[in-house]
């Protein structure tokens, strides 16, 4: 069996923003293996975005404040290494696609090149990576457009392309679809799914629970700066006290809870349509016949 490589280690991470009294993160510890897709859920003020920013070193290098514990990304200490060096290991896509456009480039192609120029890559290598990233995100046809002329979904895919062209091993998505319409959201999810299939480590904060249930290998449930649970989606969403943490289970889980459709051995509820269908068939219920 292949050895599992730990890509992200968070060890007892505590953080308080400047000019605030309460800790935003209160001793978060977790490990993420290479190639995993992690969904991060929780109510507002749970510390989701703060954790994301700690993983890319923006906390404490950009925000400062009181910081304790350690964040290690593929052997690099995120709090102390230069952000530009860390950028080649871990990238982040924020929720607002508009503010991720540098504003200094006149075409999508040049925009994606921005990070690569800063990394000092050779021109031929840049072209190779940009072509690959634009094709993967299905926006190659917009390469000559002005970045500000794109729709929200296209702009967000351009932001993702800009990050993946830098070839990080981990990509963090901080509510990447919160400002997008359903079509734009779907475009982004398809792109992320494609990256995940290629073995990239994905950490995604998202309120669209159904999507997290469908794509995530594990779900991290945060509440008031603490880790409540970090496990398979079925296990996290089957928690009877889930709503106490400001999170609603996926619609299929709620239906299955109502109809008492569970996995007989584990006692867990299905979280997706496919899971529900399989469970119904396994339980030999009349719905599955």
């Amino acid at each position: 069996m292949a050895e599992i490589k730990i890509m992200v280690t968070v060890d007892n991470l505590k953080y308080r923003y400047p000019l605030t009294e309460e800790l935003a993160l209160k001793g978060v510890s977790l490990e993420i293996a290479s190639g995993e897709f992690i969904g991060v859920i929780g109510p507002n003020m749970a510390g989701k975005s703060t954790l994301c920013q700690a993983l890319v070193g923006l906390v404490p290098q950009f925000y400062h404040g009181a910081y304790g514990g350690r964040v290690i990304i593929d052997g690099l200490d995120a709090a102390h290494i230069e952000l530009s060096k860390l950028a080649s290991k871990v990238g982040i896509v924020f929720q607002n696609p508009f503010t991720q456009v540098t504003g200094a480039k006149m075409t999508v192609y040049d925009e994606v090149a921005f990070g690569l120029e800063n990394m000092g890559l050779a021109r031929t290598e840049m072209i190779r990576r940009i072509d690959e990233a634009l094709t993967m995100l299905d926006i190659y046809e917009f390469r000559s457009h002005n970045p500000f002329d794109l729709s929200g979904g296209q702009m967000q895919r351009m932001a993702i392309a800009s990050i993946i062209a830098m070839r990080p091993q981990v990509i963090i998505f901080d509510e990447p679809t919160s400002q997008l319409d359903p079509q734009g959201s779907e475009e982004v999810f398809k792109a992320v799914r494609s990256l995940s299939r290629q073995g990239m480590t994905i950490i995604m904060v998202e309120h669209k629970i159904e999507k997290i249930a469908k794509y995530a290998d594990r779900v991290l449930l945060l509440h008031q700066g603490r880790v409540v649970d970090f496990d398979r989606p079925q296990k996290v969403f089957s928690r009877p006290d889930l709503e106490n943490y400001g999170v609603t289970a996926p619609v299929f889980t709620n239906i299955c809870k109502g109809l008492n459709i569970t996995d007989k051995t584990s006692g867990l509820y299905p979280v997706t349509l496919d899971d529900t269908y399989r469970q119904l068939r396994a339980n030999n219920s009349e719905f599955g016949k």
């Binding site: 230069e82 952000l83 924020f94 607002n96 200094a104 040049d110 000092g120």
Partner: protein, 258 residues
């Protein structure tokens, strides 16, 4: 997309010349009429700029720029023609107003210099993409951070204007009067400026983070996606223009020595 750029995309020889050579041309077109302050030299320089603008197929685009400056230059002509201290020889009369030769001659020289500067700069801004210009300057040693500020401002300010329009629409929809007398407009301005400034600050902070994670502060020497403008004629153009400035200086010095 609204951008503050005046660049006019055309297929012309002038468009293919590198931005640095165009900057050299501005230096020459501004310096020579100052070194040799005669009407003939100023007219020659102006004609050269006009020919270049015609070759670049952007001559019509420079007319509004010149038209705007004409309003100011006309006032210079009137004031200097009527009231300059050195005025002695009357040239013509317009009703009760007497225009003097000295004042009009001075105003003509000044106007030609201003038109020269405008047309020389027009060659640069109308035929060069702002991003190409800034990239050329960064290659020549301009700080990439200053380069970023210069290039981003051209696109981000129109975006901020659009945001301001959205906020204004939102306030109008809630019954705020934004048009009419100055007092009404002023009253509407203050509630508008708060959200606009806050929005801009938040966007700027988020954009700063996005730049950080894309290696903006990387100590590694920056490379460029676009190849450097390298024309065989660039050096020839630049050295010719330097030579013209030197020749003008020599001509002026020889004039003093005579």
């Amino acid at each position: 997309m609204n951008s503050m750029s005046l660049y006019q995309p055309r297929q012309s020889l002038i468009h293919r010349i590198d931005p640095i050579s165009k900057i050299f041309y501005i230096l020459a077109a501004v310096a020579v009429p100052f070194i040799l302050p005669t009407v003939t030299v100023a007219v020659i320089c102006l004609l050269v700029s006009a020919v270049i603008l015609l070759l670049a197929k952007v001559f019509r685009k420079v007319i509004p720029l010149v038209g705007f400056s004409m309003v100011i230059l006309l006032s210079v002509v009137v004031i200097q023609g009527l009231f300059m201290a050195e005025n002695k020889i009357p040239l013509f009369r317009l009703g009760p107003l007497i225009f003097y030769q000295e004042g009009l001659s001075f105003a003509l020289g000044l106007s030609l210099r201003v038109l020269n500067i405008i047309s020389a700069f027009a060659i640069l801004v109308l035929t060069t993409k702002p991003s190409d210009l800034i990239e050329s300057l960064v290659r020549k040693g301009l700080s990439p951070k200053i380069g970023y500020v210069l290039s981003s401002v051209l696109q981000i300010i129109p975006q901020m204007t659009a945001t301001m329009g959205t906020i204004m629409d939102a306030q109008r929809s809630r019954g705020m009067e934004t048009e009419g007398k100055l007092a009404v407009r002023l009253k509407a301005f203050f509630p508008l400026i708060g959200p606009v400034v806050m929005n801009s600050l938040i966007n700027t902070r988020e954009r700063a983070m996005a730049l950080e994670v894309r290696g903006f502060n990387s100590p590694v020497p920056k490379t460029f996606l676009n190849q450097e403008f390298k024309s065989a004629y660039s050096k020839i153009i630049q050295w010719t223009l330097i030579l013209i400035i030197i020749m003008a200086l020599v001509w002026r010095i020889l004039g003093w020595l005579k």
